[in-house]
């Protein structure tokens, strides 16, 4: 059930360039469990949209089925949303994207939704380079069906009842880099400072952007023997370095040490400033990125931050050479060849 929040505009609330407050980016009241990581991600999305001065009605929110997939109801009330079927959001997003290239597409999914039933669609949306931000709200469990292991759950992790997970995890971020996704980040719902710039960067990126966000399930996977709990991630999280989002036209003013940062330009001219902490790591080199992830994994660490970026990719509409005008807006005059041409066709068939 979704409850509508009363929107009382408090005159003192901060506004952005569109004159909107954060409240204007909210959605219905969440019905997720108190403390669920997914709610923090919704909050970070709200903050990112506020900061980027996004017009909510030009955003489409799509999801599959799961607690995570309910989340789009809890942000951006003024956006159209589509809660589709389990694991198949990527195809719906692909079609939507082809129909109207002018909107921004936010896909929200869970680890069950993306790594099990939806794995094929996940991979092929990447392969097609659908221009969207794809959130995996990754809790290592099937929240909505009450705590079964998901395919991203770690081998050594146990469930709430002390049973062992028997299978190795699928690392969606690694897989995405391997497949050519052009913006791949991992983060943690509990780390707002890291998460928000990564989301902002993803929103301004053209092409497929994956945000694999560890998002603890307080009800079914936040116990001591879990490797997706708040505590575990706080302890084992290792960031590749800080990321700052620098809006178009603003000066970079990061706190990084001299020479220790890199800038990456995004599609609209805004920038990402990345702190460099390790010589072996470069988010523009897929091979290095993959090695670094693998290395850290061996050390028992969960590497977070912007793992890979490639700003030169063609998105699906470009690849298909689709007109700039949204297909949904084309009118009959350009769509229908008309009777004269039909007569010619008839001619050629007789």
């Amino acid at each position: 059930m979704s409850f509508k929040k009363p929107i009382n505009h408090h005159p003192k609330l901060e506004t952005n360039k569109l004159g909107l407050t954060r409240r204007d980016y909210e959605g219905a009241v969440s019905t997720l469990c108190a403390g669920c990581g997914h709610d923090s991600i919704s909050a970070a999305i709200i903050e990112s949209c506020f900061k980027l001065n996004i017009e909510a009605y030009k955003v489409a929110k799509l999801s599959g089925i799961g607690c995570s997939s309910k989340a789009p109801a809890y942000f951006l009330e003024q956006s159209h949303g589509f809660n589709s079927v389990h694991g198949r959001m990527p195809s719906v997003a692909t079609g939507a994207n082809c129909a109207n290239r002018d909107l921004m597409y936010l896909g929200v999914s869970g680890d069950g939704d993306s790594a099990s039933i939806g794995l094929g669609q996940f991979v092929h949306a990447i392969r097609r380079q659908v221009d969207m931000v794809y959130f995996v709200e990754n809790n290592g469990t099937y929240g909505l069906t009450k705590g079964q292991f998901s395919a991203t759950n770690d081998l050594e992790s146990k469930n709430k009842y002390g049973e062992d997970n028997l299978f190795k995890p699928i690392d969606l971020a690694t897989m995405a880099i391997q497949l050519g996704a052009t913006y791949v980040a991992r983060s943690f719902s509990g780390d707002r400072d890291q998460l928000i710039p990564l989301i902002m960067g993803a929103m301004q990126h053209k092409g497929f952007a994956l945000l694999d966000i560890i998002s603890p399930c307080v009800t079914f996977n936040n116990h001591d023997s879990s490797t997706k709990s708040y505590d575990y991630i706080r302890d084992h999280n290792e960031a590749v370095g800080k990321t700052d989002f620098v809006p178009l036209g603003e000066e970079i003013s990061t706190s990084y040490k001299e020479g220790s940062s890199t800038e990456i330009s995004l599609h609209d001219g805004s920038k990402l400033a990345l702190e460099k902490t390790d010589a072996n790591f470069d988010p523009r080199d897929a091979g290095k990125a993959l090695n670094f992830i693998r290395e850290k994994e061996k050390e028992g660490k969960v590497l977070t931050g912007l793992l890979y970026i490639n700003d030169l990719a063609k998105d699906l509409n470009e690849t298909l050479n689709v007109t700039q005008t949204p297909l949904s807006q084309l009118q009959q005059d350009v769509l229908c060849p008309g009777s004269e041409i039909l007569d010619e066709i008839n001619q050629s068939l007789s």
Binding site: S79, A93, N321, Q332
Partner: protein, 614 residues
């Protein structure tokens, strides 16, 4: 050429069946199609049928052409002339020839066929081509053209007609015109110089096809989608639907290129499977584009879950199902009408879908274009269900027509101005009391009209609800919408032929056979009234026709009398009235089969009635 002795050889003009037996992958298709096209150009009704294996190369394949001046173009059975080019299948091919018929084979390797009642025509095709063409790769292709040449003399086909076809066909590769003509004449000259001609069977210009064209249903449907304003196609390859998506792309690439930019005014995506194909089409339609997908039986099964979503969330969608032989992977290269129930009731839960049944390429074109209007009007999936026979074979049909005054009906969509005037937008409010509500496209209005589309139970404002009464009201409204649909879909074509006649219900590709059967039965003094069903839900005319008949044969190409089931289930029709007349080998039904089944039972019926009267 040995002449028939034990029996008269068949004599006829513009009425015969010729069957070409070739090896799959040997390039025979274009020669055979040239033959069919020649018939068409001489104005003689013709129906070519490709009978091919689910295989790429090396297996037997046939091309059966019925030529019939009266316009009977269903499958007939029996072969008058066999062109046997595949030793693998000689025995079957020769067996099929009717007494008095003709056999043409490649006598480079001589054979004795052990049938005294046919005329055997020997032409050493391979040898001729080896002598005439240097490039060994081309020889097998030209061998096929050569037998067309031979046939042109044997059957008296106009040479200019063939010459023109060849020139048109190679208009972009003119260097190929000359060798093809050479091959054609190779066959011609051999007959002219060595064999008696013409045969007892000949053709002669008939000029019956002035307003007709020759096209496959899939190509017609693809073109219809372009005319219907489809801008998005997502599909996954599967026989026999592949050529529909390809047809769309072909025409879109011609007629849908933006003037200044050269960019595409459409997008076509080969999906990774059928689930993704329909998911994409749903996404496109939700977002305001006209999108479709095309598939065949296995795809329908895989699309079931998404179909329930589109039904319940009320998203327009056009889905072409070109049926093949089922169940399971079944007979991928044979024809059936066995997905009727799978389409009408696709998905779990209480669902019913709108289905259109074209019966020839003209209707494939018309219904394809119309389906996009219906989908937008009804905000629900529209199935267009054809089959392999009509989809992949070229059929003679009426020329396509388009009324330039006609405006697309995009259904109940609110734009920004509309929304500005509306107090209280609710996506699922039944404002007009027809079960159809108002939608908005994403990105329409900065403050109003956004809603959350979902496959879970929802209220009139598209909010999730677990209130059973609210959900039941939604389900009931969907039934109301379905009744509205019955007024919008194409009505049946009804033909009443006499008093006290029995009725015959049919749909789709059985149409030619049924019409031929009607005429044959008439000669036997059995009059039948025809109703060609063209859509589900059934409209009033359908029920009226049924009410006016006390016995009706339902002709269909499936085992379980699926259309009959649908009629009984939806209309509360007494089962004794509806008699199954089914055929499900995967080969097209023949008029004679229908005639036998009906006359048998009608004769019983009449003697029964007469007995009563006495």
């Amino acid at each position: 050429m040995h002449e028939v002795k034990s029996i008269e050889s068949i004599q006829s003009t513009n009425d015969f069946v010729i069957k070409f037996a070739n090896v799959n992958g040997s390039g025979s298709a274009s020669a055979n199609q040239m033959f069919a096209k020649a018939m068409f150009r001489m104005g003689i009704p013709v129906s070519p049928k490709n009978i091919f294996p689910s295989n790429i190369q090396g297996l037997p394949t046939w091309f059966e052409v019925r030529v019939n001046e009266k316009g009977y173009l269903g499958s007939r059975g029996g072969v008058d002339i066999a062109v046997a080019m595949n030793p693998q299948s000689y025995s079957k091919d020769v067996d099929e020839i009717l007494p008095g018929g003709y056999l043409l084979y490649d006598s480079t390797w001589k054979r004795n066929f052990n049938r005294k009642d046919i005329t055997v025509i020997e032409i050493p095709l391979t040898q001729l081509c080896v002598e005439a063409f240097k490039n060994p790769k081309q020889r097998p292709l030209f061998k096929n053209i050569a037998y067309v040449g031979a046939l042109s003399v044997l059957l008296d086909i106009e040479y200019e007609v063939l010459e023109n076809i060849i020139s048109e066909q190679f208009i972009k590769k003119p260097a190929l015109i000359e060798p093809n003509l050479k091959a054609l004449n190779l066959g011609r000259n051999y007959v002219l110089e060595n064999l008696p001609y013409p045969l007892g069977i000949t053709v002669s210009r008939a000029d019956k096809l002035e307003d007709k064209i020759l096209i496959s249903g899939n190509e017609a449907a693809g073109l219809g989608a372009v005319y219907g304003g489809a801008t998005f196609c997502s599909w996954y390859p599967i026989t026999p639907s592949t050529s529909l998506a390809e047809g769309y792309e072909k025409y879109a690439k011609k007629f849908r290129i933006e003037n200044n930019t050269g960019k595409n005014l459409f997008a076509s995506v080969q999906a990774e499977d059928e689930l993704a194909a329909i998911g994409m089409a749903i996404g496109a339609n939700w977002n305001g584009a006209r999108g479709f997908t095309a598939t065949s039986g296995p795809g329908i099964s895989l699309m079931s879950e998404f179909l329930g979503l589109a039904y319940f969330a009320e998203i327009p969608l056009v889905l072409f199902n070109v049926q093949r032989g089922g169940p399971s992977t079944g007979m991928p290269t044979r024809t059936q009408q066995s997905d009727v129930l799978a389409c009408a009731y696709a998905s779990h839960g209480d669902t019913k879908h709108v289905v259109l049944f074209p019966s020839d390429p003209k209707e494939c074109f018309d219904f394809s274009a119309q389906a996009f209007d219906l989908a937008d009007q009804l905000q629900t999936p529209i199935f267009v269900v054809s089959d392999l026979d009509m989809g992949m074979n070229d059929w003679v049909c009426d020329k396509f027509k388009w009324d330039d005054e006609y405006k697309y009906n995009r259904g109940k969509v609110l734009n920004k101005d509309d929304l500005d005037e509306i107090e209280n937008f609710g996506r699922y409010l039944d404002v007009d009391n027809d079960g159809i509500c108002y939608r908005t496209y994403p990105g329409t209005h900065p403050e109003k009209g956004a809603f959350f589309t979902r496959g879970t139970s929802h209220d009139e404002y598209a909010r999730y609800t677990e209130d059973g009464e609210v959900n039941a009201a939604t389900l009931s409204r969907l039934m109301k919408k379905f009744r509205t649909a019955s007024e919008l879909v194409p009505e049946p074509v009804i033909e009443i032929n006499g008093k006290d006649s029995c009725g015959v219900i049919f749909y789709g590709s059985t149409s030619p056979a049924v019409h031929e059967a009607k005429d044959i039965l008439k000669e036997k003094e059995i009059n039948i009234d025809l109703m060609q069903i063209r859509s589900f839900p059934f409209n009033l005319d359908v029920w009226e026709f049924i009410a006016n008949h006390d016995r009706i044969y339902v002709v269909e190409q499936n085992r379980d009398s699926q259309m009959r089931t649908l009629i009984m289930a939806e209309g509360g029709i007494s089962p004794e009235i509806l008699r199954p007349l089914v055929h499900f080998t995967g080969d097209p039904i023949q008029a004679s089969y229908i005639v036998n089944k009906i006359s048998e039972r009608e004769v019983n019926y009449k003697s029964h009635i007469n007995a009563k009267k006495r």
